[in-house]
Symmetry: C2
Subunit: 372 residues, 2 copies
């Protein structure tokens, strides 16, 4: 059995911290994905540390769980040294979110079925931290009433890169209370997204879920019963809250690769959503890092060692062992991303931020996986 | 007295190797000026090594003199380890070309007044090396007839950055013989430069001068007699071909700052010029380094570690200790210079290559002379 604290109904932070590390190449790598970087407004705090900090009023380190890849445990633990080893639920094989979340739910349920899990991604940005916490608290209250509850972000544009949640009651009154979910919908076409946004009845699915351990286990029993049973079996083998490596591997090898959205949310009844607008961004590319980041009067990144001459609206990001000493001079250029990590340098227009993946593909093709 | 070889009338290579190292920043620095870099077509050989090599059929190491700054002796000697200490005539204070060239002339004249000095800049590019040597040999023959002889480059554009030489006979028959100089003229306006080029009677002054030691001393006696006397006095103090440091310092402190063009060439009679066209370039900026450098089909620099995606006509230059390992990825950009030296990074449009100086000025203003 585990040694987790047993105040019944406590809140657990469950932080999704996987990621392939390609969209912010060369700063992000396979072993240094986005959540471990300080991008966006803070050049001091990594995204994952910010995530843990924001949830710390509700969940201390001992009730913080990291769902991460085995290959990321070392770097993640180095970034969050206050977390005990039992905080790390590490998947040896990437199998999407459902097998991870049910593992966390079963892990917590074994000690406290009434406990509330707050599942959030580790690599998002939140401008209004109080608003974030208020929305989470509303969701926790809703979860305690027995509803799997999600946070829905009020859309600010017809984004086609996110899933949407249709509100049961219609109309968005942000951050005030949870309301019924009508349905979860997958990433729409632009036309459909425009209709969603115009209707006022849809919010973005930001991948944040709040629920009691026992309620999520019951939902898995209904929709993915085999996975629920395997997770319970895995947790039953824990010693001091840590499952044996071989059992974890067997669990993930057998698990279906299913997202929590597809496997549970699109099928489950009685879901709720807290519509919210706390300055959320998923920081999907260098472009959004520039939009959120601090900049000088010409819109260039505020980097102490940068020299800008007739240069405007450029993102500059330096990392690596010599980043503090390196001078970057931009003359007569606009709207560029310039990212230097010591071992790699990327230059591309901000508008083409998504095309970082083309470089990643080219490096793979050249057998330069060492740089990814 | 010196221990220089005394085959009367031998050829000496006299290489002008000063330079402030600003136009190719960040690759060039105060202690690493352009001639010490491998820019242009060769990514292997520094410009100064190429210069010494091209003249080596005429002048071996023991008859090669470097006119350089005291602060550059160490790096220059490291680049040219075959040169003996007596090859280095180092100025402690920059005082333009006349005091340096008369020093070299007096130094050689002390052993062999009939010796022919071939004075060339150390930081130029020559595409046709045989053509270069042919022109120099014609100039040496002319010098042996008692004429201070210069090499005049057939102009390919109305360049306003160079001085011009008007041919005495008119008409340019390249690389065939020396002809009389009508006059030396300073950098012209664009309108005047266009007239010069259209006339066919003008060639570029590339700063290459060939003369017997005694003839140049005589010219200085006519036009800058005080400087000639000071140089003779300095040379009289040499021990094993090397003048005492204090005497060198005194010589340069007293010397007027005068160019050889203004001090001698614009005043002297009986000058000759060998019109030539051996693919000369003064490599004045990153732009010209790109023009001369090897490139791929899209016109990007041929750099092994570069990844180009929808990128064309970009210059990429990597140097510094980790240059061989560093990957540079350019996506969707055109006509940029990207120069990375490990401790500094420059990004600017090729068309603004001259504006590197604005960065140098900004760094000076910030007290970052350590980067210059």
């Amino acid at each position: 059995m585990t040694s987790l604290p047993s105040d019944s109904g406590s809140v657990y932070a469950v932080i999704l911290a996987g990621g392939s590390g390609t969209r912010f190449w060369p700063a992000s790598r396979r072993l240094m994905p986005k959540q471990l970087l300080a991008i966006g407004p803070s050049q001091e705090e990594s995204l994952i540390r910010g995530t843990v900090r924001r949830l710390s009023p509700l969940a201390p380190a001992v009730r913080t769980l990291l769902l991460t890849g085995e290959h990321l445990v070392r770097a993640t633990a180095a970034e969050l040294p206050e977390l005990p080893p039992s905080s790390f639920l590490a998947e040896p094989i990437a199998k999407n979110t459902a097998p991870c979340i049910v593992w966390a739910a079963a892990h917590v349920a074994a000690t406290d079925p009434e406990a509330v899990l707050v599942v959030v991604p580790s690599d998002q940005h939140t401008a209004d931290e109080k608003g974030f916490l208020r929305a989470i608290e509303l969701a926790v209250a809703s979860a305690r009433e027995g509803h799997i509850t999600t946070i829905g972000i009020e859309p600010t544009r017809p984004e086609t890169g996110y899933g949407y949640i249709e509100l049961g009651e219609g109309g968005v009154a942000s951050d005030t209370r949870a309301q019924a979910v009508k349905r979860f919908v997958e990433k729409p076409s632009l036309k459909v997204a425009e209709e969603y946004v115009a209707s006022g009845r849809f919010v973005w699915n930001a991948g944040m879920f709040v629920f009691r351990a026992k309620d999520m286990m019951a939902a898995f029993d209904r929709h993915l019963p085999q996975m629920a049973a395997a997770a319970r079996k895995l947790v039953s083998l824990e010693v001091n809250g840590v499952a044996p490596g071989a059992a974890i591997r067997e669990y993930f090898e057998s698990a279906a690769s299913v997202s929590i959205d597809y496997g549970i949310m699109e099928k489950e009844q009685g879901l709720r959503v807290v519509p919210a607008s706390f300055g959320w961004s998923d920081l999907g590319s260098w472009e959004s890092a520039w939009e959120l980041g601090a900049s000088d009067e010409q819109g260039n990144s505020a980097v102490a060692q940068a020299v800008y001459v007739d240069a405007s609206r450029n993102l500059v990001h330096l990392s690596g062992p010599d980043a503090q000493k390196k001078v970057v001079a931009l003359v007569g250029v606009e709207d560029l991303c310039v990212v230097d990590t010591g071992d790699a340098l990327l230059v591309l227009p901000r508008s083409r931020s998504q095309d970082v993946r083309l470089v990643v593909e080219a490096l793979k093709a050249r057998g330069r996986g060492d740089l990814l």
